[in-house]
Symmetry: C2
Subunit: 291 residues, 2 copies
């Protein structure tokens, strides 16, 4: 239970965290900060935050937790802005999809508070954005990855963990590099593939065939492309922040795709069937019938 | 309304067609044929078919409609088998995901009945298979593409259309080539990308990281890979049947992927954001908020 929470960026994640904590009765007062006045106003109207603020000094006074929930690309700028106003016991955390870059920035820019910085990443879907999309159930049964350093205060980790558990989430812990590598494979790569697919469809859609394309957009198309509607700004930042690991993943995928292409070129039905079977079995094993 | 329907292959599609027609009161008697005795027996137990048969001669006697609903790769073999037993007024149709190959085979193998052959493809999701997966609602508000030839009997087209409409579906009509090209883009290509992605994940999953992979399989991963569980046999047949058009699509996609890869390599944030925005806008426009 904390008294005062300040969230920078009241989007899907920041807003849902606020709603979930409020429902769990784990926070007394929530201040929202962010670039868009309109979004903050809406967040206040929706009861997500108690107060919208443009003044970091007042907003961060006696704050128990500052949550960075704006796009990852603004991390450096925001850390510089909040630095003078972080109290000695204030916990700082984030929700960024990449962790190495955030940890490096925090170590560099808020060295005195680094022991209270608990990097976090909620693994929760996000093709929607803005305060409007916030929902108190978003984190129920979802995983939250924490990537603390050796210096990180155990007490800060525990408080943050309890808050996320109050939102219904499960806590995992790993090294920032391990997180970024796994995410590059399971999240960043499929997003790139889906974005590329939609761009490909765009290049091939003419006035003439758009209606036909629409008619062929079955359930498979819809599900496969859902992540292709994710926030362009957020994904620009993820690409830049996790560039090297992501490029490795894309290159390895290109090789796998070239291999499958060869099987089709060769008309090798038996090898194709095996390839598809391996896919089917792997997905069943990984998702364990969570369709 | 028809008296007797024979369905060859009581899987998701064949079984669902039977259930939907039955519910609509549009058929009196349904005979099921197929490779697997166990599956046919189950279909009978589930009330999908009235009768399971292994004898084509008896099964096809006085049949109003023969529906080919087995994997596309068996088309040639089945057409040869049914040929002697097709009545002069019997309508023949199929549900194959490719149409040029089926039309060519039918023209060649059942020339006398070709005027009553109405090629069809229901655009309805199918990562499940077997009679067990059949469901009477599968075709509600889905599109059924008919690809008749100039020779096709109008009356046969009308009867088949009414039956599908009775299942809740909408009828579209186009040339076989046009169908195969559009499907290669909107369905076959994304399936190949998802299959390849799962194979890639398989290659990279070790005992050590499988649990981590599991924990990172969020909603995006789940949706993106749903089609990667589709029937290996069915997709082997689709790849072989629509090989040339599919290869064209894969090659064009590879170029688009290489382009995106370059943007990441260059660290070109502005171009990446535009690329993702184009994706977001295209999907919104095509799917019109059907998330």
């Amino acid at each position: 239970m904390i008294n005062k929470l300040a969230i920078i960026g009241i989007g899907l994640i920041g807003g849902s965290f606020a709603l979930a904590l409020r429902r769990a009765g784990m926070v007394k007062h929530i201040t929202g900060l962010g670039r868009s006045k309109k979004n903050l106003q809406q967040a206040q109207e929706l009861g997500i935050i108690d107060e919208a603020s443009a003044d970091y000094e007042t907003a961060l006074e006696k704050t128990d937790l500052i949550l960075l929930a704006m796009p990852v690309g603004q991390t450096t700028e925001i850390l510089k802005k909040i630095k003078p106003f972080i109290g000695p016991k204030t916990i700082i955390s984030d929700v960024g999809s990449t962790k190495q870059d955030v940890v490096t920035s925090a170590r560099l820019l808020i060295p005195e508070s680094f022991k209270n910085f608990v990097p976090a990443h909620p693994i929760a879907g996000a093709e929607l954005s803005g305060a409007n999309a916030a929902n108190a159930d978003l984190f129920v049964d979802k995983n939250i990855v924490l990537t603390p350093s050796d210096e990180t205060n155990i007490n800060s980790i525990e408080i943050l963990s309890k808050l996320w558990q109050g939102c219904g989430a499960h806590i995992l812990s790993m090294k920032p590099y391990q997180h970024d590598e796994l995410l590059a494979m399971t999240s960043h790569l499929p997003h790139m593939l889906a974005f590329t697919f939609m761009n490909y469809i765009f290049s091939n859609s003419t006035k003439k065939n758009t209606e036909s394309l629409l008619n062929f957009s079955g359930g498979g198309f819809r599900d496969f492309t859902r992540i292709a509607e994710s926030s362009p700004e957020m994904w620009r930042d993820i690409c830049l922040a996790n560039r090297h690991l992501l490029l490795q993943q894309i290159r390895a995928y290109q090789n796998e795709l070239a291999h499958m292409n060869e099987l089709i070129e060769d008309g090798d039905g038996s090898a194709l069937e095996k390839f598809f079977l391996k896919s089917q079995i792997t997905r069943k094993r990984l998702l364990n019938n969570k369709n």
